[in-house]
Each structure stands twice: as structure tokens, then as C-alpha cells.
């Protein structure tokens, strides 16, 4: 069995493979690495025409899981699961079945006997809503929550407690968090991203169907638009505050930074996590009506950037480095010290950075008619203890935006194991 390190894929931008699902299956990932180096093709103009985007498919196997440095797709269906069985064998069998199914789904194939091809007296193996749709750039990314290793009551259900990475902490309570248990935690997670929401939903629906009896969905979140760019070629999208988001995000092309800030290393403590990462998921509700009544000056001061171009208030264009020392006429910094940019900038956080991969969401309106919407924050980091937690602590105690307009209602942390080599199932090294 080949090891992940022998796979050709680099942490370079994952470019789409060719348009034909058959061809993709034919190469079986063997040339995926070469293809990955070939450029960013259809993604060059960000939200390009559907024809360009939806014909893409990515290889499931490689040195790292897909859906992390992959050029971020526009749609998300994220699901956290509770493992309902106490059997280690059941858990392994589920991961094996998910591996096979995910590879098929990402190639745009139908599961098992297909949506219409099985016995007439039996329910079809594939639910069928993706029939006729291309792979649509689907990526499926798996993660393991803290409770998989140590249950809430302290029991070691699957004999994994000694394998729990020190980085996979129980996230502390952050000021202002109003966590709903219905959107918090989980033993397992699946992030399904695609350019067609129907394809992402099809993936989660069928994977959860396979899990019945071993794992059940604890909570799920749909995201309808990306709020980050993970490659330099992508246009910076806007969040529901109306501001460009993720201007200074880590990009796949910055391979040195990606290695340093995103990918876990065998030397980080748990060798099974080599090539993996840690996924922070936070459901951040925006008090939209209140934000919308805020003056443009108030909004820009909260963010520290202009709403139009996204330039820092210290001047320049979107990609100009903010100058936190530059003062205005009254002697105070042009970028307020309690602005989001000032507090979250690497300069203020010992140089720490994260690979953000969040999505705008709305679940309709609440009982008072207010928009139930916000940012489903997803970030991949090498060590949440030094990257996410200190930054979030600063934001939740000083950030004008966070304090006045945001409320976090869901929160979870997952260990995302490294890439899956040929013949392996996801997370296999954990069970070795």
C-alpha cells in the first residue's frame, strides 16, 4: 500500500480535472497530481459561468483531503454526526463505506446499483437527484470530533483516547457565545462543497443514509455562497455584512504558508494526523436588521476597510497592506484599534494565520420576522490552540463588530486526517 507521501499531489492549487466523469474514473487518480499542477482553468474568473464550473471534478485521493486548499466552491452542505454504535468495527466499516461512496460521488457516479438500475422490488441504492448533473466540483472532506476519542462522560468508546491529538481541544467558552446544542459538537463531520447545491445535498443525503445504524446526523448547515477565496485567481466574495471577506486569506499558491499554518506534521504529536488539519466550524449569526441601520461610517469603522473596494481605511486598494499607525486629523488611527481588521491581522496575533473557507447561510427568518442568517465560519489550521483560540479571544472581547452585531450559535472542532492513498480508507492510520 502506498503512503500518502508517495502521491504526486502537492499543496498547490487543485485545478479541476477534465469534464468527463468517465475519464476521471479511468485515470483513477493516478495522474491527478500532474493535472493539479496544470493551472486553475475554469476557476480563473471566480464565479464564472456555470458551464465552466460545473464540469469539473477533483480526485478524492491524494496527499491531503480535497476541499481544503481546493479552489473554494460556491455551495456547502455540512453535517456533523453522532456515532450511535459503540462498536469500533462498525465505525471502521462506516469509514470504509464512506470512502468508497465519496470517491464515487466526487467522480460524479451513482452509488451501488444506481438510482434506477437495481432490483425493482428494492429501494434504489442512489437517491437519484443528481442524475444528469455533472460532478460540479464536488469535494467531500471528513473530520473527527473530540468526542470520538473521549465521550462527554469520559469513556473511551472506540479505544482511541490515546490517539487524541493535543490540538483537538474542547474549545473554550468565548465571550458572547450563545451556543445552541443543536448546532454544536459532533463525533464526525462531513463537509460537502460543490458548485451546484443539489450535488452537495445529494452527497450528504446519501452518505447519511449509508450511516444509519452506525451514525446519525447531529446537526447540519447549508451554505449558499462562499465567503473566502482559497486561490489567488478567485475574486474576493462578500459576506452578508456586504463587505469583501477573506482578502488576506491564505491561498493555495502560498505553499510555504500552507505547510506552516494548515498541514499537520507527523512531528506535531500524533503521527496519524500527518498531512491533515484542524477544522473550526462556527455558526455566526448576524444581527442583520441592526447592522443595516448602521451608518456607512459606522460599518466601515467596524470592519476597518471600505465597503466598496475593500481597501484598508489607511488607504490604497483591496490588497494594500493596512497601515495601523497612519493617523487622521484628530490624531487617532485611520483604522480604529477595535476594528475587525486591526484585531484579527497577523501583526496583532503573533503572525498567526488561518485558511478560512466559510459560507454565507440563511435558514429563513425567525419568529419575529428577522433574518436568520450569517456566516458559517470554517477555518483550517494546524493548531487551534495557537491560531484560532487566541484570535477569537481577542475578537470576542474587543472587536466592535463581534460585540455589537454578531452572535455565535454553533461551534465545533474536528481533526481532519490526511489524504487517502490508493487502497486506503479515510482515517485508516488512526485505527492502525
Amino acid at each position: 500500500m502506498s503512503k500518502p507521501s508517495e502521491q504526486p499531489r502537492e499543496e498547490s492549487p487543485e485545478a479541476p480535472n477534465g469534464p468527463s466523469r468517465r475519464a476521471v474514473l479511468g485515470v483513477a487518480g493516478a495522474v491527478a497530481g500532474a493535472a493539479a499542477l496544470g493551472g486553475v482553468g475554469g476557476f480563473a474568473v471566480g464565479r464564472a459561468s456555470a458551464e465552466n464550473l460545473t464540469l469539473n471534478s477533483y480526485s478524492f485521493r491524494g496527499a491531503h483531503q480535497s476541499g481544503i486548499v481546493t479552489a473554494q466552491q460556491d455551495r456547502l452542505h455540512f453535517a456533523a454526526f453522532d456515532v450511535t454504535s459503540n462498536s469500533r468495527d462498525d465505525l471502521i466499516a462506516l469509514l470504509q463505506q464512506w470512502t468508497v461512496a465519496a470517491e464515487t460521488l466526487m467522480a460524479g457516479g451513482e452509488l451501488g446499483g444506481g438510482a434506477v438500475g437495481g432490483a425493482y422490488q428494492a429501494p434504489p441504492d442512489d437517491t437519484g437527484e443528481a442524475l444528469g448533473l455533472p460532478a460540479s466540483g464536488l469535494t467531500i472532506t471528513f473530520g473527527f470530533g473530540p468526542t470520538l476519542f473521549t465521550a462527554a462522560d469520559g469513556t473511551d468508546r472506540f479505544g482511541l483516547a490515546s490517539k487524541r491529538p493535543a490540538q483537538l481541544i474542547d474549545l473554550p467558552h468565548f465571550g458572547g457565545d450563545m451556543l445552541d446544542p443543536a448546532f454544536t459538537g459532533g463525533d464526525l463531520c462531513i463537509q460537502a462543497c460543490a458548485d451546484d447545491p443539489q450535488v452537495a445535498v445529494h452527497a450528504i443525503r446519501n452518505l447519511s443514509r449509508i450511516a444509519f445504524g452506525t451514525a446519525a446526523i447531529r446537526w447540519a448547515q447549508l451554505g449558499f455562497g462562499r465567503t473566502s477565496s482559497t486561490t489567488k485567481a478567485q475574486v474576493t466574495p462578500r459576506n452578508l455584512l456586504g463587505f469583501k471577506d477573506g482578502t488576506r486569506n491564505l491561498h493555495a499558491e502560498d505553499s510555504g504558508d500552507i505547510s506552516h499554518f494548515v498541514w499537520a506534521d507527523a512531528g506535531d504529536g500524533q503521527s496519524w494526523m500527518a498531512g491533515g488539519s484542524y477544522l473550526v466550524a462556527r455558526r455566526i449569526q448576524i444581527r442583520a436588521e441592526i447592522w443595516d441601520r448602521t451608518s456607512l461610517k459606522g460599518q466601515e469603522d467596524s470592519i476597518g476597510r471600505t465597503k466598496g473596494s475593500g481597501a484598508p481605511l489607511s488607504g490604497g486598494n483591496e490588497f494594500t497592506e493596512p497601515d495601523f499607525a497612519r493617523e487622521g486629523a484628530n490624531g487617532s488611527p485611520l483604522i480604529p484599534t477595535d476594528s475587525h481588521v486591526a484585531l484579527s491581522h497577523p501583526d496583532a496575533n503573533k503572525g498567526q494565520r488561518m485558511l478560512r473557507r466559510g459560507y454565507n447561510f440563511t435558514d429563513g427568518s425567525d419568529s419575529l420576522g428577522r433574518l436568520d442568517a450569517g456566516l458559517f465560519f470554517l477555518a483550517y489550521v494546524r493548531d487551534p490552540r495557537t491560531q484560532f483560540v487566541p484570535i477569537q479571544n481577542r475578537l470576542s472581547s474587543h472587536d466592535a463588530l463581534t460585540l455589537e452585531y454578531l452572535q455565535t450559535t454553533g461551534s465545533a472542532l474536528f481533526a481532519v486526517p490526511g489524504g487517502i492513498a490508493a487502497g486506503e480508507y479515510v482515517g485508516e492510520a488512526l485505527f492502525a
Binding site: Y120, D125, A216
Partner: protein
């Protein structure tokens, strides 16, 4: 351009083996599908032979009439398996387990007469398939056993309903409330059978919300509301109460007449689908606590549905154990898990707690166990008949 086509590659055969552990086993003998073109004057089978095991015929009606495809035994009389009601232009799969032997593939344009046949040979293979005669005997036994069970449950249902109705009509509501859930157990165990007799099921078991405005509401649940009335009362007049009571007796009597009629029969498909139907009932209305809005005795119905499904599985067990032993093992485990969970809340003999006393976490746990059982149970029929 159709992108999402089924890929009959080695890679996907592996998918089948892994993902579909609860399906017809993907042994090597069923890798290929055999195309059949059913024309008005010919039955063209792509290959004249296949190895014993699971065979899939992909039948396309290339004729102008509604057609039927049958795999017939060597005597040309006995039907091994068939596809009916295939409209012109329609393609459908027939999945069938076939032992070594000589057969006929027959297309019946217009679905009458002898049709057009072509010889089809099944050769020896490593796959072990029971001779058809054994299998048919097993299925016949399964059918007989299940019919006996249905008749037995209906007999008890008639007796317990009479007792319940008598107490209700006498105005002895305490006694009626005590008999309600226990009498319904015998209905809930075999409810899919009742559903097969026209509008007997809605007349007997409709909830208030099921009934359209202006339509009469009759049956168990109307009486339930009268026995456990809301603060403003159930709103029934004494004349309506008598009509409800007599109507319930009459409808249960009709059910009894139907299942004791000489032509009453249930085949393996109906039994298997009935088991699935019982679990669907649980998932749709019992686990949500919507079935017994007024009495909150949902757990009696819940347990009865599971028991009915378990009996249906039990009579098909031997047949399924040959076609898909893994499915039998999974179902055994999942039934046991769910029963153990239900036992935490009582039993039919001793009584259950009211559904309203369960916490959301306990309901979720029950729901997970129902999903865990329902998913493999949905494979039961196909495993029994193909």
C-alpha cells in the same frame, strides 16, 4: 449528454460490495446485465446462457403493446420470476436468483396468450442457489404462517374491541381508557393488511388532522379524543358517540370478514412490504408522538408495529437467509437493539410510560434506532423475492 450514468466498472462493483452489504450480494455472477428486447413478435435476449446466481435482465419494450417478461421453467409453465406492465419504450430490470438448469425467456406482447419464447440456459457456477422447488415451498410456508398470524391478531382484535366498545357505550370511561391501548395493539401489528382493504384504514384509524373539512371523522382516534378530551370538550353528542362505537365495531367486523374470506392471501412481496410499511408508520407518526394526540399511548403502537414487522421478517427469514445472510444478521441485531430500547419504557403487558414523558434526547435515541432498522428492512422484500 448524460454524465451521471451507472458505471459498470470494477471500481463500482467494489462500491456495491461495500456500500450495499444489505442488498442482493454482488457475487461475480451478476456483474453483467443481460439486455432483453421485447418486440411485438420476438423476445431477443442478448445472450442465451448465464452462470447460476443472481441474474439481471434489463428488459426494454421495443414493441407497440404493453408487455410482460417471464423467466419460465423448463416445462414452459412454471414462472420463475416476471416483470409485468411494461409500457412501450420502457426499460426495467428483473433481478432473479437462478440455479443451474434450462429455462425459457418469454415476452408477452399484450400480456395475453403464450407469448414468444426463447431458450435460456443457466450453467453451473460457484454460486449456490437453492432449487426453485425448495424456495417456492419456503415462500408458501412463509405465506401460510403469516396469514395465520394475521387471522389470530384479528380474532383478538375483534374480542378486545367488543370489550372496549361495550365499556365506552356504557359510559364507563375509566374502563374504556384502560382497554384502549391494549386493544389497538392488535390493530397496529397488522395495520398494512387493513390498509389493503379500500378505505377501511382511514375509517378506522384516521387522526383528526387527516380528515378534510366537511368529511366525517370516525374510528379509534375520535373515541380517543372523547375519552381524553381537551379542556373545551370533545364536542361529540351522545348520538355521535353511539355512531362512533357501532361504526368501529362494524369496521373491525369487516376486517375480520376480509381476512377470513376464502380468497384472502398474502405473498412474500406483500409480507415484506408490510414489514417496511409498519416501520414507515413508526417513523412518520409514532416517533413524533402524533399518533395518539389525546391519550399519548404512542409507545403501545410503536411496540406493536415493531412486533408486526418482526413477525413478517421471521416468516421470510429462511428464504432471506439463503439469498442474503448478512441482511438477516443485521436485522436480528437492529430489531434487538430497538426492542431493548423500548423495554426501558415498559411493555405491552405491563404498560408503557406516556409519550409526553420522554425527553427530546430519548425521542432522538428512539428515532435513530428506527432509522437503523428501517434502512436494512427496506431490502427485505427484494431479498425474499429475487
Amino acid at each position: 449528454m448524460n454524465f451521471r450514468t451507472t458505471l459498470a466498472t470494477a471500481a463500482l462493483a467494489a462500491v456495491g460490495a461495500l456500500v450495499l452489504s444489505a442488498c442482493v450480494p454482488n457475487d461475480s455472477t451478476d456483474a453483467a446485465k443481460i439486455a432483453v428486447s421485447a418486440k411485438d413478435n420476438a423476445c431477443v435476449v442478448a445472450t442465451a446462457t448465464a452462470p447460476a446466481g443472481v441474474i439481471t435482465f434489463t428488459v426494454t419494450n421495443d414493441g407497440s403493446k404493453v408487455t410482460e417478461f417471464e423467466l419460465m421453467a423448463e416445462d414452459g409453465l412454471r414462472i420463475i420470476s416476471e416483470l409485468e406492465n411494461l409500457g412501450p419504450g420502457i426499460t426495467r430490470d428483473l433481478v432473479v436468483r437462478v440455479p443451474q438448469g434450462s429455462y425459457f425467456a418469454t415476452c408477452k406482447p399484450g400480456m395475453v396468450g403464450d407469448g414468444v419464447s426463447t431458450a435460456f440456459a443457466v450453467t453451473a457456477s460457484e454460486s449456490t442457489v437453492a432449487p426453485n422447488a425448495d424456495r417456492e415451498a419456503q415462500l408458501a410456508t412463509a405465506s401460510d404462517q403469516y396469514i395465520l398470524y394475521v387471522k389470530d391478531q384479528v380474532q383478538t382484535l375483534v374480542a378486545k374491541t367488543a370489550e372496549f366498545v361495550a365499556a365506552y357505550k356504557a359510559g364507563d370511561y375509566d374502563t374504556a381508557r384502560g382497554l384502549y391501548a391494549d386493544a389497538r395493539v392488535h390493530w397496529e401489528r397488522i395495520e398494512p393488511v387493513a390498509e389493503s382493504f379500500g378505505d377501511l384504514d382511514p375509517k378506522t384509524d384516521a387522526r383528526e388532522a387527516d380528515v378534510a373539512e366537511g368529511e366525517p371523522w370516525t374510528g379509534w382516534h375520535a373515541i380517543e379524543k372523547d375519552l381524553w378530551p381537551p379542556a373545551e370538550g370533545s364536542g361529540f353528542t351522545d348520538a355521535q358517540r353511539v355512531a362512533l362505537a357501532d361504526g368501529l365495531t362494524a369496521n373491525i367486523g369487516t376486517l375480520s370478514d376480509e381476512v377470513n374470506a376464502g380468497d384472502f392471501t398474502l405473498n412474500a412481496s406483500q409480507i415484506g412490504n408490510g414489514a417496511q410499511g409498519l416501520l414507515d408508520e413508526v417513523a412518520a407518526s409514532k416517533v413524533t408522538g402524533e399518533e395518539e394526540t389525546w391519550s399519548h399511548t404512542d409507545l403501545w403502537d410503536f411496540q406493536a408495529n415493531i412486533e408486526g414487522a418482526s413477525v413478517a421478517f421471521g416468516v421470510l427469514r429462511d428464504v432471506v437467509n439463503e439469498s442474503n445472510p448478512d441482511l438477516v444478521k443485521t436485522l436480528d441485531t437492529r430489531f434487538a437493539d430497538l426492542n431493548a430500547l423500548l423495554a426501558k419504557y415498559g411493555s405491552i403487558d405491563e404498560g408503557f410510560v406516556l409519550y409526553t414523558t420522554l425527553t427530546p434526547e430519548q425521542v432522538r435515541e428512539l428515532s435513530n434506532a428506527v432509522d437503523a432498522l428501517s434502512e436494512p428492512l427496506s431490502q427485505l422484500t427484494a431479498a425474499a423475492v429475487s
